[in-house]
Subunit: 433 residues, 2 copies
């Protein structure tokens, strides 16, 4: 039997896994800093529950199968399970309900570079009953900023927009009936040439002047305050536009109040997110120097989370980070920082078998002092033991020789500087802390 | 569409999930303290890879299905994926290879109380090439002790044995050919009456004197040193027995050197673990006052991890904690400690809409000081806001009224004592830290 792993399923070596898990825990910790509580839902769900809302494209990608008489499916995102969860437990939940979920999702896509069939999504959502205050949209912006700031990655910008603006603008052009199609098309504008974009607008039946107006509108640029001023100058007075502009202004103002640096947040009227699902604020996040990564964190505001399952209205705002793909892209571009290669702070090396007892005793004491230590119990030449220490990348080596065992001093070697000192137990603990 | 979750799949409310995740992170942290590096393998594998070794009983429980032309299966434990991983990457790994993995596994059992179809396993294994020093078996004992000690659960004991002892004893009785069956039967002795046990031994063709000798052997009891003395007095001189006894003595001695309390570790010659897989040390863990939970952490030493995939020999020692079941049992017996009900340290409550800006600014500053805070932006009566604070169980409330906004002082209420103080920003940060 040949050992194989399925294509499109990421599997990492230990030193990579440590970096991956570090990123995962920075994200989780940041989500908690903003008051989000953890949630964990099953990977498997009843197929009809999971597919209640999805269209044909999603359905083709689903891992779906029968066990006995039951149709099962593996989750393809964390949003449908959240909708199910809120529908099922809303009487026991406290609203606004703020949850984060970090888990694997499954899409049986044709495997290709940078596409995974199993990947981590790291989601937050804030859900309320009936209405959700717009300030939460600014909080979500702060979460995105804080996560990417703490991850210590290349320079990034969060692009925001409000779908009500474009909706209102299309109303003012008298083409509100084309809103869904136009928003979906605008979402593609950065990926296709301008002529192709205009051509597709023609296909939708838009007249030349409206096409140009639209193009001009989504190209409005400048600093955030300038864009807002330009939008105000348009004097469009339908409800959708007016509400959208007010919401956008609040989000920008509250982002400032939250202390977010202006250079990390940019209004971009061409950001729409393709999904009909979103109804207000939308977010995308790009690295300034790596636009080819695509958006590494996206999301937005929606009017109703659980309409498939319930009559009650649950508006929300949320985002998702596709961690597996992000990690893969960072790795491919040598942007990962491999600081810690092992969870151990020190490796204890007894020089020969007679010194194992002393090594074991020391390990017990150091771990009692909350220091992560590994011990090399394998019987081999000292050189081999040093090779092991170098390979696992441990920061300190504590060598137990006969002298050390007698004197009660331990030879502690800093593996980066190469410096070696004889330390007693207290000094050793202090050095390793 | 009615929202439903599949039977046998655990789904928790936020306050329960926080406790679950806390347990999970104590386990992960402890594993790292002992130098184990994280590993994450796919939930889905090729069916032939996963089922290469399993027998009929396992196979029936597997979630197995076809996607296109590929036979897929969901993992049913973390051991087979580890065997595959070591076979696949052994040239890139450093040995002894110490990994931990915490992840969900799947068994399509008939759902019944306390049985889950999706559950977390929390595994560690130490793998070496050709030979693995016996002292690692004591380290594993220390890991089990430290995990359960840190989890702050009811009193527990780790029961250990070495399968070579019973194997050697059966050799000395001239019934070595029945070893597999007898060990499997001994594994059941605590679950069936003694007569039934003796009856099944008769079915295996054991003569009366041998049955009684065996019963007497597995009932040897006392303090660990006394049991070892009694085993030595038996003067059994075959290799298996002599090696087993020496290994057991080393594990007990090194457990003492590691500083483990004697009352938490008990030699029990009736512990065998049913699986043929184990070849030396075996572990089981029971709560003193809740034996009905069964073993909450089990494992042992094996001669070869990856024989299905490779010719090379990789001996190892490992354990597994079935976290989902453990959590479920603790919950059913009111043994969970719900200390923190929300990740937030404080909830900021602006008294009315005009004070939202001040609340937002304070939230930004507190989070910059690494304090997890939530803000209540929902517009409702103050009483409702207090209800929310009580429901999410946040330790501190920071109220922003008009006076506070003017004075630069914040009303900080300790939700446990009810005490309220007016604090400036620095004092507030200090209180919440």
């Amino acid at each position: 039997m040949t050992a194989r792993t399925l294509q499109g399923f990421m599997e990492l070596l230990p030193q990579e896994q440590i970096v991956f898990d570090h990123m995962k825990s920075v994200i989780a910790h940041t989500y908690e800093m903003f008051g989000f509580a953890p949630l964990d839902t099953p990977v498997l769900e009843l197929a009809d529950v999971l597919l209640s809302k999805s269209g044909g494209e999603t359905e083709k990608q689903i891992y779906e199968f029968k066990k006995g008489d039951t149709d099962l499916a593996m989750r393809f995102d964390l949003t449908v399970p959240l909708a199910k969860y809120v529908a099922l437990y809303n009487n026991d939940l406290t609203f606004p309900f703020k949850r984060y979920q970090i888990g694997k999702v499954y899409r049986g896509e044709r495997p290709q570079k940078g596409r995974f069939r199993e990947f981590y999504q790291c989601d937050i959502d804030i859900i309320d009953r009936d209405e959700l205050n717009i300030v939460y949209d600014a909080e979500v912006l702060a979460v995105i900023y804080t996560v990417f700031n703490k991850l210590n990655l290349p320079k990034f910008k969060i692009y925001i927009n409000n779908r009500k603006l474009l909706g209102g603008f299309l109303q003012s052009l008298d083409i509100a009936d084309k809103t869904v199609e136009v928003l979906r098309l605008v979402d593609k504008i950065k990926k296709i040439p301008e002529e192709a974009f205009l051509g597709e607008l023609s296909d939708l039946g838009l007249a030349e002047d409206k096409k140009q107006s639209l193009l001009k509108f989504i190209k409005i640029n400048g600093l955030n305050d300038e864009i807002i001023a330009k939008l105000e100058e348009l004097n469009i007075d339908n409800d959708s536009f007016v509400t959208g502009l007010a919401e956008l202004k609040t989000v920008i103002t509250q982002a400032q109040n939250l202390g977010l640096p202006a250079q990390n947040i940019q209004i971009d009227l061409s950001i729409t997110r393709g999904l009909d699902y979103y109804t207000g604020t939308v977010y995308e996040t790009f690295f300034d120097e790596y636009p080819q990564f695509g958006s590494v964190c996206s999301g937005g505001r929606y009017d109703n989370l659980s309409s498939v399952f319930m009559d009650k209205k649950f508006p929300g705002v949320g985002i998702s980070i596709g961690l597996t793909r992000l990690f893969d892209q960072l790795r491919a571009n040598n942007l990962l920082q491999f600081k810690e290669l092992t969870p151990s702070k020190a490796l204890i090396v007894p020089q020969d078998e007679s010194l194992i007892d002393a090594a074991v005793k020391l390990a017990g004491k150091l771990r009692n002092a909350d220091i992560a230590v590994d011990v090399m119990y394998r019987q081999c030449k000292f050189k081999k033991k040093m090779e092991y220490a170098n390979k696992i990348g441990v920061p300190y080596l504590v060598i137990i020789g006969e002298e050390e065992a007698k004197s009660g001093l331990f030879a502690c070697k800093d593996m980066i500087t190469g410096e070696q000192k004889a330390l007693n137990l207290d000094e050793l603990i202090e050095t390793l802390k």
